[in-house]
């Protein structure tokens, strides 16, 4: 179908004097212009009536983007392990939740939030290392058994965590310097006396977004620009060859697994500070990272970022404008992506 259409459309476009590429460029420019106007202009009344209020719309977009940052942190670890090493780790959500609890314990006992974040990363990285050595190494290449074993681990872990931390909801308290809201250069309304009302946004969530971007760029650079990254990519494609050229493949994969698990623990502490920590979070974040990775394409850091952005925005905008069916939107995106591009937006066909 698409193969039949494609020559026709490109012929149409070339006869009109612009190439396909230019047409897309123009389209994105238009989208950017509309978005810029939505954010910067003072809304006329009819638009306020349609989209509730500018404050609601802009907040939903901001929340979607910052939530995407959090989803990206969890999913990047998942995509490393699942996509690159073809290891199915369905206990990834449990790693997130355990990280959050450990972060809570350390942060509330020492009084240093950053120490909690560090503990979340380090302890979970160690646990990841243990899991790789004792579980995944024995089940290499056996997807079904990996799936079943990790589901088992996640169920046992969920009950153990319920026994230790009970069902109480915990909130990891952020330090004062991360607290509070900052004024954004966006006018949400103009008062009757002509004074502009600027939007205020929680500072902490902006920090989460910044951290996610830094980690994303770091991971991308590591995979694509360093020697270790090269080894990882080579090991995925042809393990025997890499081993023959004198690299300890097991050590490389153990390190990747540790980083993936550590990122989940890190995300747990960061997410537990932004939202809260309670039983059930493990499944929620496992599902979120599965969807993000499937939409974005397995093994691609850029894909995980795009997937997280789509899912985060869909969730928040859905929550404000059609709360009852908001949850469906996430899965509609997944279905559409699977139908049109089964390997995911940035995935490579294998």
């Amino acid at each position: 179908m698409s193969a039949l259409e494609r020559p026709g459309t490109s012929a149409d476009l070339s006869s009109g004097g612009i190439t396909r590429r230019q047409a897309w460029g123009l389209f994105w420019l238009l989208v950017a212009a509309v978005l810029a106007w939505l954010f910067l202009a003072v809304w006329p009344d009819w638009l306020n009536a349609v989209l509730i209020s500018k404050k609601a719309f802009v907040s939903a977009v901001f929340n979607g983007v910052t939530l995407a940052g959090l989803y990206f942190l969890v999913a990047s670890g998942f995509t490393l392990v699942f996509g690159l090493m073809r290891n199915v780790n369905l206990a990834h959500g449990s790693l997130y939740l355990l990280g959050a609890y450990i972060g809570y314990e350390v942060a509330s006992r020492t009084g240093y939030w950053l120490l909690g974040v560090a503990a979340g990363f380090i302890v979970l990285a160690l646990i990841g290392l243990v899991m790789q050595v004792f579980v995944f190494r024995r089940l290499e290449g056996d997807d079904l058994r990996q799936t079943l074993v990790t589901i088992g681990i996640s169920i046992v872990a969920a009950d153990l965590m319920l026994a230790v931390w009970t069902g109480t909801t915990y909130q990891i308290v952020t330090p004062a310097w991360l607290d509070g809201a900052v004024a954004m250069p966006i006018v949400t309304a103009v008062k009757s006396n002509g004074e502009a009302v600027f939007m205020r946004y929680p500072f902490y969530r902006l920090v989460v977004l910044a951290v996610a971007i830094v980690i994303g760029i770091g991971l991308w650079l590591m995979l694509n620009r360093t020697r270790v990254g090269m080894m990882i990519r080579a090991g995925v494609d042809d393990r025997a060859m890499l081993s023959a050229s004198g690299v300890n493949v097991h050590a490389v994969f153990a390190i990747v697994f540790a980083i993936g698990a550590g990122l989940a623990g890190f995300a747990g502490v960061v997410g537990g500070s932004a939202l809260s920590v309670a039983p059930g979070e493990d499944v929620r974040y496992l599902l979120a990272s599965l969807v993000v990775v499937i939409v974005g394409g397995m093994g691609s850091i850029t894909g995980a970022a795009i997937g997280a952005l789509l899912i985060g925005l869909a969730e928040q905008i859905g929550l404000v404008y059609f709360p009852t069916y908001g949850i469906v939107l996430t899965f509609v995106i997944m279905v559409v992506v699977l139908a049109v591009r089964p390997q995911g937006i940035m995935g490579k066909a294998r």
Binding site: S53, N63, T168, T169, T324
Partner: protein
């Protein structure tokens, strides 16, 4: 057959009288206890269990000489999980008496399941959706805890008259219990002259409320919040983070002990929040104080029992009283037990409880306000008692049914 049964009964009574310490299999009665031991309402379910166990320990673990054997079933607040757990208890474990469930939609689902099991007697836990008993009730489903609209008795009038709120926005979870609560609040509030221009319904288990908070109109006098467990904590924390300034009005489970004891920064926004429900933490009645003492003996108890502990206590207590009356004999398919239950009227730690013709409770409701206790814990301070509230909130039943089924858009007074 008849003689055989009577002989068995006689034997049971005889052994019960002469040798209560000997626990033969026939000398025990199985009671199913269904609550949310997993999912977002885990804390609530655990407290419900503490309440039920308080009632059982009060009678020393035996009823009419028979040892009480509790079989627990766990759900996660979704209706299908509740039915699954109820089926397991009834069809595999063979319980003839079941106490539960905890949450609104679960109650409606279990009520429908009860219709297929006429020989089993179902007594509610704390599920408080209106239509569990009001429309199309099941003959064998009893609710000694009141419903969510009854719990709101007095709050709407108080908010309008005493607090002076004229315009209120609501934020609540999207299922039957919060519909019932919003209905109960608005029934009075709108009648008093207030308006509700905006209602937000959020999915249960939602984490991120910042977009919802941003979408609340700026010109409302207060926000009515009916969210439970972790959802309530998340909303309150994020409302505080977003620098929310409009005062809050709480649903019955939004500012109860399950939320007030959470570890986080909700203190500033909840103090002074009015609410209403079947319990008040600072109730001075000696019956209530005695109940609190008994409750505190349970492991991991809260500083004060939540309405879940209270509801499960009242329903379990009713079950035990009725079982005592019929000699804990359910071999007749529970017919005598159900007759005893429907006639039952007794004094609870929160006043007298009796049932209406739909087997729904008529009981006292407490109007409260959140305050800080001398020990630093947060409590619901008693403001006023609304005596003997019935399911139709004092409105004649005909007229009440005409108000329609509770839902997202009913009632409405923008």
């Amino acid at each position: 057959m008849r003689i055989h049964r009577r002989a068995l009964l006689a034997l049971a009574v005889a052994t019960g009288l002469t040798a209560p310490s000997l626990a033969f299999a026939e000398d025990s009665i199985k009671i199913g206890l269904l609550a949310t031991f997993e999912g977002p309402f885990t804390v609530l379910g655990e407290d419900g269990e503490r309440g039920a166990m308080t009632a059982i320990e009060e009678v020393g673990g035996t009823v009419a000489g028979k040892k009480i054997e509790i079989v627990k079933g766990s759900s996660d607040a979704s209706p299908d999980s509740a039915v699954r757990a109820a089926r397991k208890l009834v069809e595999q474990d063979g319980v003839k008496v079941l106490v539960g469930p905890l949450s609104g939609d679960e109650g409606i689902a279990v009520k429908d399941y009860a219709k297929t099991q006429p020989d089993v007697t179902f007594i509610n836990g704390t599920s408080a959706a209106q239509d569990t008993t009001l429309r199309d009730p099941a003959e064998n489903f009893f609710r000694f805890s009141t419903d969510g609209a009854q719990w709101m008795a007095g709050l709407g009038t108080y908010a309008y008259n005493e607090k002076g709120y004229k315009k209120v926005a609501t934020v609540a979870e999207d299922y039957s219990f919060p519909y019932t609560q919003v209905f109960g609040f608005m029934a009075e509030f709108c009648k008093a002259g207030g308006t509700v221009p905006s209602k937000s319904w959020v999915p249960i288990g939602n984490k991120d409320y910042s977009s919802v908070i941003a979408a609340i109109p700026d010109d409302v006098d207060a926000i009515y919040v009916a969210l439970g467990g972790a959802d309530g904590v998340n909303f309150l924390t994020q409302y505080q983070q977003a620098g929310g300034s409009a005062p809050l009005i709480g649903g019955s489970i939004t500012v109860d002990q399950t939320v007030l004891t959470s570890k986080g920064k909700i203190r500033e926004v909840v103090i002074g929040t009015p609410s209403a429900g079947p319990v008040a933490d600072t109730n001075d009645a000696p019956e209530w104080k005695a109940f609190v003492e008994a409750y505190k003996k349970q492991p991991n108890a809260f500083p004060s029992p939540s309405l879940f502990a209270h509801g499960y206590y009242v329903d379990m207590k009713a079950t035990l009283l009725a079982l005592e009356q019929v000699g804990a004999d359910v071999s007749d398919g529970g017919a005598k037990l159900r007759e005893a239950l429907s006639k039952l009227s007794f004094d609870t730690p929160t006043g007298k409880v009796s049932l209406d013709k739909n087997r729904n409770a008529i009981a006292d409701i407490y109007l409260t306000e959140v305050a800080e206790g001398s020990d630093g814990n947060l409590y619901n301070k008693l403001v006023k008692v609304v005596p003997q509230v019935n399911q139709t909130l004092g409105i004649p039943e005909e007229e009440f049914l005409k108000l329609g089924v509770v839902g997202r858009d009913n009632p409405s007074c923008p």
